[in-house]
């Protein structure tokens, strides 16, 4: 089915040019990178831009690697790039594990992590993982650049802190200082590619510290501070896990949609959380399942 809505297309070669074009066009412009969400939305007439600004020609936006103490994920870095990067696989295994669950090979070859968080659907896989890594989203606009913490990035369903005229240049994912492990648990309806019915990201840090975030169970991906506070500085045991599971209802607000009912999501979150938590703890201790293992 062809796209019926009309628009123009530009492909700037510098960031300044892109920012200028975006500023000129205002909210009539949309940034295009992988396009895996945008093309579908255009086809379904869910968005109606006047201009697409293709950022794939801008040098530097494909950057992926450690810079100082943080992983730089440029705006054009695809999920396949993440999966294939040794740095990601070894130093940021939770990013690797999450990327492996995104859609199918053909989509992962186009879809970018930055696009994923710009689309900002509640089930976006990158969200919970960036929350637990305490990543920072770097944007550039007509009045210069700014850094937005992941916790402030997601504003609502399909809404972010990005302002009209701004463009995300990269995500900076800080490397936890003295080692970490993690687990990404994604609930799908079958083994084939599926959007998350619910997801949990757990980051385990030395000395019994944990970070926890959920996806697809609120209007945005959410961090779970109460659970984190409960778990921190205590040795992980069955009763503590049970207590933590009881807090999940306070941290999430799932709804019913075509993929799952609120009730099922509520049932599954503790199961997923426990599996992820135990796996993350085991991984931190040097055992546990290989990254990329499916938990449900």
């Amino acid at each position: 089915m062809p796209i019926a809505h009309e628009f123009e297309y530009v492909k700037p070669t510098t960031l300044d040019e892109a920012v200028r074009v975006l500023a000129e066009c205002g909210d009539g412009a949309r940034v295009l990178a992988g396009g895996t969400d945008l093309v579908g939305w255009l086809r379904d007439d869910l968005v109606a831009p006047d201009l697409l600004v293709d950022i794939k020609g801008i040098e530097g936006l494909g950057e992926l690697g450690l810079e100082g103490n943080a992983l730089t994920v440029g705006a054009c870095v695809t999920f396949t790039d993440l999966i294939e990067s040794e740095t990601v696989r070894i130093d940021f295994p939770l990013v690797y594990e999450m990327a492996r669950t995104v859609a199918s090979v053909g989509i992962r070859n186009r879809a970018t992590m930055v696009g994923n968080i710009c689309s900002a659907v509640p089930c976006c896989d990158s969200g919970p993982v960036l929350l637990v890594y305490e990543a920072v989203i770097l944007v550039k606009g007509p009045s210069g650049g700014r850094a937005i913490p992941a916790t402030e990035w997601f504003v609502g369903n399909k809404t972010t802190a990005l302002e009209v005229g701004e463009i995300v240049t990269r995500i900076a994912i800080p490397l936890p200082e003295d080692g970490h492990a993690g687990a990404y648990v994604k609930l799908g309806r079958y083994r084939g590619e599926d959007l998350a019915q619910a997801s949990v990201a757990i980051l385990a840090l030395p000395r019994d510290r944990y970070r926890v975030a959920f996806g697809a169970v609120a209007a945005t991906p959410v961090r779970a501070p109460k659970i984190e506070a409960l778990l921190s500085w205590k040795s992980l045991g069955d009763s503590l896990i049970e207590k933590a599971k009881r807090l999940i209802r306070q941290e999430t607000s799932p709804i019913s949609d075509v993929r799952a009912s609120k009730e099922y999501r509520e049932h599954m979150l503790p199961v997923m959380f426990e599996r992820g938590l135990r796996a993350a703890a085991a991984r931190l201790a040097g055992s546990g399942p290989e990254y990329g293992t499916r938990f449900v």
Binding site: T36, V39, S104
Partner: protein
């Protein structure tokens, strides 16, 4: 090939050059034109199929700069200067590629509508991973839907082509 389904006066038409199946091609496309429309409607390469238009079925899979992608989700304009390999390109020499031959031999073809995309995905997999496990094969084609075969003979074919 005449009237192009995706071609129209919307947005400013632009001339793009790209390499398709090792040949330099030039086409006038609109900003709205997707890669699959460029291939099918402008370049008469109808081997690439459209099953859903949303990147959910894999029938339009082609190889863009070495990687399989859903051609319905890529704008033609984004392919300027790039290399595209389609199902037609796999047998451009006149002889079928080993993956194509393996599909024939294994009985992996039924209605055939998923077949070009499936073969292109398999070809891409084997190019980067010459001896995949069955699990890796299944994952590589999990974005390519087939409603006829139950996938058994398709996985057999790819497994056979890998040896």
């Amino acid at each position: 090939m005449t009237a192009a389904a995706g071609d129209r006066g919307n947005g400013t038409a632009m001339e793009i050059r790209l390499t398709v199946n090792d040949a330099e091609r030039v086409a006038d496309v609109a900003p709205t034109t997707t890669l699959v429309e460029l291939l099918r409607d402008h370049l008469a390469l109808t081997g690439t199929k459209v099953g859903c238009g949303h990147g959910e079925c894999g029938a339009c899979t082609v190889i863009l700069d070495g990687r399989p992608v859903s051609a319905c989700l890529v704008f033609a304009a984004q392919c300027r200067g790039r290399k595209v390999l389609t199902i037609e390109g796999l047998s451009a020499s006149g002889e079928a590629d080993r993956v194509q031959r393996a599909f024939v031999k294994a009985g992996a073809v039924q209605c055939g509508y998923c077949t070009p995309g499936m073969i292109v995905s398999a070809y891409a997999l084997l190019s980067s991973n010459p001896r995949p496990s069955r699990r890796e094969i299944e994952e590589a084609i999990s974005g390519n839907l087939c409603r006829c075969t139950g996938y058994v003979k398709i996985v057999d074919a790819i497994d056979g082509a890998s040896e």
